[in-house]
């Protein structure tokens, strides 16, 4: 009987490689899971599920973690006005933790023999995932194909092409990580100490040229209401209110 592994899956090159490698080279039964913390639209989640199944996972689970992400993490970042080094709202760091916790839960639920993630050996995510797994599911084997095999992008692409995997292998010029609490952008200009991203690299382009007044209503530190008064047309003010839940759904589908 094949051993069960739960894999944190995003549908990208690294995690797609992991599915094939874990099933065909290591003989595991792969159970993929994607944790949506606001970075994926409903349509994207469906496409990712279809992709996972086509790659050969035994089961795929989509967790809609937006509410729990807000309640247990974002809420406190707002209470604390948290900006790392006075600058960064922890867009990616906070999200990874929420994802790791849900992946651990799923591994526990399935009584998995192993848990896998697509982190490289170069960054922060490997520590976050490993650590949370050691704490939440001690004793469960942690497999990290990308970190361990030290494969180049090209080698991964060749491996998948040899296995007749059809997906978009084009490397984006900038590495984007989209989420509820911000989107990170990494690329050529951020690899050295000087240089800013070109205007075209930003996922959200500047399209508004006028000015707008908004009112944020807080209750005990939580944003409860947002009112937008378009001051350019005072005769017909465009007003709409959204509760934060709606904002989060909006942010999740925002492209």
């Amino acid at each position: 009987m094949a051993k069960k592994v739960v894999l944190g899956f995003s549908g990208g090159l690294d995690t797609s490689f992991c599915v094939k490698y874990l099933t065909e080279d290591l003989g595991y039964e792969v159970h993929s899971i994607i944790v949506n913390t606001g970075g994926f639209s409903a349509e994207e989640l469906q496409q990712i599920e279809a992709h996972a199944i086509k790659l050969g996972v035994k089961t795929h689970k989509t967790v809609n973690a937006v509410k729990s992400y807000y309640d247990s993490i974002i809420r406190f970042l707002i209470y604390g006005n948290v900006l790392k080094n006075n600058t960064y709202p922890l867009s990616v760091s906070a999200e990874r933790l929420s994802q790791a916790l849900h992946i651990a839960d799923h591994a526990k639920e399935l009584n998995a023999d192993a848990v896998a993630h697509g982190s490289t050996g170069a960054g922060n995510d490997q520590v976050r995932f490993d650590m949370i797994f050691h704490i939440m599911i001690p004793g469960v084997e942690i497999i990290t194909p990308i970190r361990d095999l030290k494969l180049s992008r090209e080698a991964e692409i060749e491996y998948l092409k040899n296995k007749q995997v059809e997906m978009n292998f084009e490397k984006a010029a900038y590495s984007i990580n989209k989420g509820l609490w911000g989107t990170s952008v990494g690329g050529r200009e951020t690899l050295s100490s000087k240089g800013v991203l070109p205007e075209s690299a930003w996922p959200t382009q500047v399209t508004k040229t006028d000015s707008e007044e908004v009112v944020l209503t807080f209750e005990k530190g939580e944003l409860k209401k947002l009112t937008d008064k378009n001051i350019r047309t005072p005769a017909k003010p465009s007003r709409y209110c959204r509760r934060l839940q709606d904002l989060m759904v909006l942010a999740a589908t925002f492209t």
């Binding site: 993490i73 406190f76 707002i78 209470y79 604390g80 006005n81 948290v82 900006l83 790392k84 080094n85 600058t87 960064y88 709202p89 867009s91 990616v92 990874r96 933790l97 916790l101 960054g123 922060n124 520590v127 650590m131 949370i132 704490i135 939440m136 609490w181 911000g182 989107t183 990170s184 952008v185 990494g186 690329g187 200009e189 690899l191 800013v196 930003w202 996922p203 382009q205 500047v206 399209t207 508004k208 000015s211 707008e212 007044e213 908004v214 009112v215 944020l216 209503t217 807080f218 209750e219 005990k220 530190g221 944003l223 947002l226 937008d228 959204r242 904002l247 909006l250 942010a251 925002f254």
Partner: protein
């Protein structure tokens, strides 16, 4: 919020920070909604919280953010800090008015029934109501009392040396 504020290009920056593994890294980010929410929230807090509430919040939040960034969300100290933070928010209720423009924003101000800035108590630089100039004379004499004593003692002790 993101839909409203994103197209203004607000909240774009590049962060240079310390990674968990020791190297320094640089990353660009866009976070229009988060930045505006944080700044609006802080503006409201500056009106409704006391000086030392604000100070201790900053200190604990800085630790909290760093430890969270390093993946230590399950450290029980984080639950302790969350209790503190949650408690500090009991009067953080009110409206915050922002103006959004291309690439920047302005905090117009706040309205809150918990606003500690109230002309009942005085207008900074203009006039005092609720306390007199004599009150402040006495306060200024006493507030620096111990520091004044320290410097007097230091001067006297210096003279005693051969």
């Amino acid at each position: 919020m993101q839909e409203i504020a994103g197209p203004y290009g607000i909240g774009r920056d590049i962060h240079v920070g310390d990674t968990i593994i020791g190297i320094k890294g640089r990353v660009g980010f866009e976070a229009a909604a988060p930045m505006l929410i944080l700044k609006a929230h802080h503006a409201l807090e500056k009106h409704v919280l006391t000086k030392w509430q604000l100070n201790w919040k900053d200190q604990l939040a800085q630790f909290y953010g760093n430890w969270l960034h390093e993946g230590q969300i399950l450290d029980p100290v984080m639950r302790d800090i969350e209790s503190f933070l949650e408690s500090s928010q009991r009067n953080v209720t009110g409206d915050v008015f922002l103006q959004l423009m291309p690439y920047r924003y302005q905090v117009i101000g706040i309205e809150s029934e918990y606003d500690l800035m109230n002309s009942k108590f005085g207008k900074y630089g203009e006039m005092n109501t609720g306390f007199t100039g004599d009150d402040v004379r006495g306060f200024s004499r006493i507030f620096g009392n111990q520091t004044m004593m320290y410097h007097l003692v230091k001067t006297e002790a210096g003279k005693g040396e051969a």
